[in-house]
């Protein structure tokens, strides 16, 4: 997730200040509370207040509408390459859209419940779909050779697996960098590990008492980071599945999103406004387990790690500023 779902994420002042350099200013085509930065930082998916979705080029500013108002858009996410965008709707349908200038579009009914969570596998073979109050789903989204000239319905994705939960839905998923492992955590607080070749559950972890909302593998795939209502990072050894370390918990806060910088050793942890503390963000050094707040002049509305570096966007009216942190 490269879109910060909190309405106002206030980044703290810091003794260890990261320098921010503006990368671009973009005129948004509408008033927007929610944007998503593409993985290479060249495009923004902009959700307007009427719930339409537009793709806006960061450099050049051209925009095109890919989802109109009234379709019930609820969530959206870029594929790892940025060439595709997946959107989930309140009626349980999902759409995969060409984000790189093509008009390709595949729309199918994945569930009868609202789609809350979407996640592409790193190799773009699978799309993970998380309906509210329902088990997770894995859809094979590869274009099948058999169906290229077949009727439209034959070319639609096929469900590859269902990922169960004791109750509720899935709250976060992440795939290892090599795509061989998928981890999913549910409303039931159970973290389950899956082999993506067979979709068999290989292990589970029931050590969380509170919900987990963010999962992320380190860039070398050796560690898994988890965070949620317990307001701290829990670090797992991927080879053994064992819990290695935990950062101190930050009372009154809740982890909403985790990213990892290009050095592979620094995690960006965003705390949203679900807790009693105001939203803020921290950098955690995974080797020393020391942290530093990130300084920003305005509340970011989206961001992510682009080419190994942290980029954050802020919005003033219809002007979006994208800044890079060194």
């Amino acid at each position: 997730m490269r879109r910060l779902s909190v309405a106002a994420l206030v980044l703290c002042t810091s003794t260890m200040v990261l320098a921010a350099q503006p990368v671009a200013k973009v005129q948004l085509p509408c008033e927007s509370n929610s944007q998503e930065l593409s993985p290479n930082g060249s495009q923004l998916a902009v959700q307007c207040k009427d719930h339409s979705l537009l793709l806006v080029e960061v450099f050049g500013g051209s925009a095109r509408t890919v989802i109109s108002a009234g379709q019930g858009l609820n969530t959206f996410v870029y594929s790892p390459s940025g060439a595709q965008l997946a959107a989930g709707f309140t009626d349980g349908s999902v759409e995969v859209i060409g984000a790189g200038g093509t008009a390709s579009k595949r729309h199918w009914k994945a569930d009868s419940h609202r789609i809350d969570l979407l996640y592409f596998s790193p190799d773009y073979k699978y799309l993970f779909v998380g309906p509210v109050d329902s088990p997770g789903q894995v859809w094979d989204i590869r274009e099948r050779a058999c169906c290229k000239n077949q009727p439209k319905e034959d070319a639609l994705p096929a469900k590859a697996a269902t990922l169960p939960v004791d109750f509720g839905g899935i709250s976060a998923v992440a795939a290892s960098p090599d795509g061989k492992l998928l981890v999913a955590v549910g409303d039931d607080t159970v973290l389950r590990w899956y082999d993506t070749a067979s979709w068999q559950k290989t292990r589970y972890y029931r050590g969380f008492l509170l919900e987990t909302f963010a999962l992320h593998f380190t860039t070398d795939g050796k560690q898994l980071l988890a965070g949620g209502a317990d307001a701290r990072l829990t670090i797992f050894d991927v080879a053994s599945g064992k819990q290695l370390r935990q950062t101190p918990s930050e009372a009154g806060a809740s982890v909403a999103f985790i990213d990892v910088l290009g050095n592979g050793q620094t995690a960006v942890v965003y705390f949203d406004d679900a807790g009693e503390k105001p939203p803020h963000a921290l950098l955690w050094d995974l080797a020393t387990l020391t942290s530093a707040p990130i300084k920003a002049d305005a509340p970011p509305t989206c961001g992510g790690v682009v080419a190994g570096k942290l980029q954050v966007c802020t919005v003033d009216g219809k002007t979006l500023t994208l800044s890079q942190y060194q």
């Binding site: 509210v132 109050d133 004791d166 109750f167 509720g168 409303d187 607080t189 969380f208 008492l209 509170l210 919900e211 909302f213 949620g228 209502a229 317990d230 307001a231 009372a251 809740s254 406004d273 679900a274 807790g275 009693e276």
Partner: protein
């Protein structure tokens, strides 16, 4: 051995335990009985971010001296045929009267086992208004073997947000998807100790 209503009626008719008018077939009578007893499943409402596993089994959430109007919540766990679900587990959690969830501990959290009668009752306080939510609410998570888990929230018809008209105004909280979740509040007790009482039956779907 458990019989469905239809099976029971058919067996009673077969053995002469009941006599039916010739114009009423057993199947029609069974269907009428079934329809009369059928209950709608409790509507879903978001789990929210403050669920915590392993809550203690206690019916007394209110401690002496706790701020807020005392509140009694009670109800019965049914299935959609109107029959008691005897082996359910019911987790209930809410904020204190100031609108704070206990994340570190288990204040205002409980895990109940309604038992063979399917009944539950807890002593609590009226929850406060949580800052990022519109309405006062109490969270419910109900599980039972062979049944779809129920995740929902209870709301109070007396909530000032509804301006005295929950029928019209319940959608002021975007998370309230059904009017059924807004329950009437009965004031009980004496002038020295007023207690708000809310009945909230829960209905589970079979898998």
């Amino acid at each position: 051995m458990n019989f469905t209503r239809r099976e029971l009626l058919e067996r009673c008719a077969a053995f002469g335990a009941i006599t039916l008018a010739s114009s009423i077939p057993v199947s029609a009578l069974a269907a009428a009985w079934d329809n009369a007893e059928k209950k709608q499943p409790t509507p879903f409402c978001e789990l929210g971010p403050f669920y915590k596993r392993e809550a203690p089994n206690t019916s007394t959430l209110r401690a002496p001296g706790d701020a807020g109007m005392p509140l009694t919540l009670s109800g019965v766990v049914y299935d959609v045929r109107g029959e008691i679900v005897p082996d359910s587990k019911l987790e209930i959690w809410q904020t204190d009267n100031d609108g704070h969830y206990d994340i570190e501990g288990y204040r205002y959290r409980t895990l109940l086992q309604p038992g063979t009668k399917g009944a539950y009752a807890i002593e609590s306080v009226m929850p406060g208004h949580y800052p990022t939510r519109v309405c006062q609410h109490v969270h419910y998570l109900l599980t039972a073997p062979g049944h779809k888990p129920v995740i929902t929230q209870l709301y109070f018809a007396t909530d000032p947000v509804f301006d005295g008209n929950p029928d019209k105004n319940y959608t002021r909280d975007p998370l309230i998807t059904s009017r059924e979740l807004v329950r009437p509040v009965v004031i009980k007790g004496d002038p020295k100790q007023i207690i708000a009482a809310v009945n909230f039956d829960l209905v589970m779907e079979t898998l």
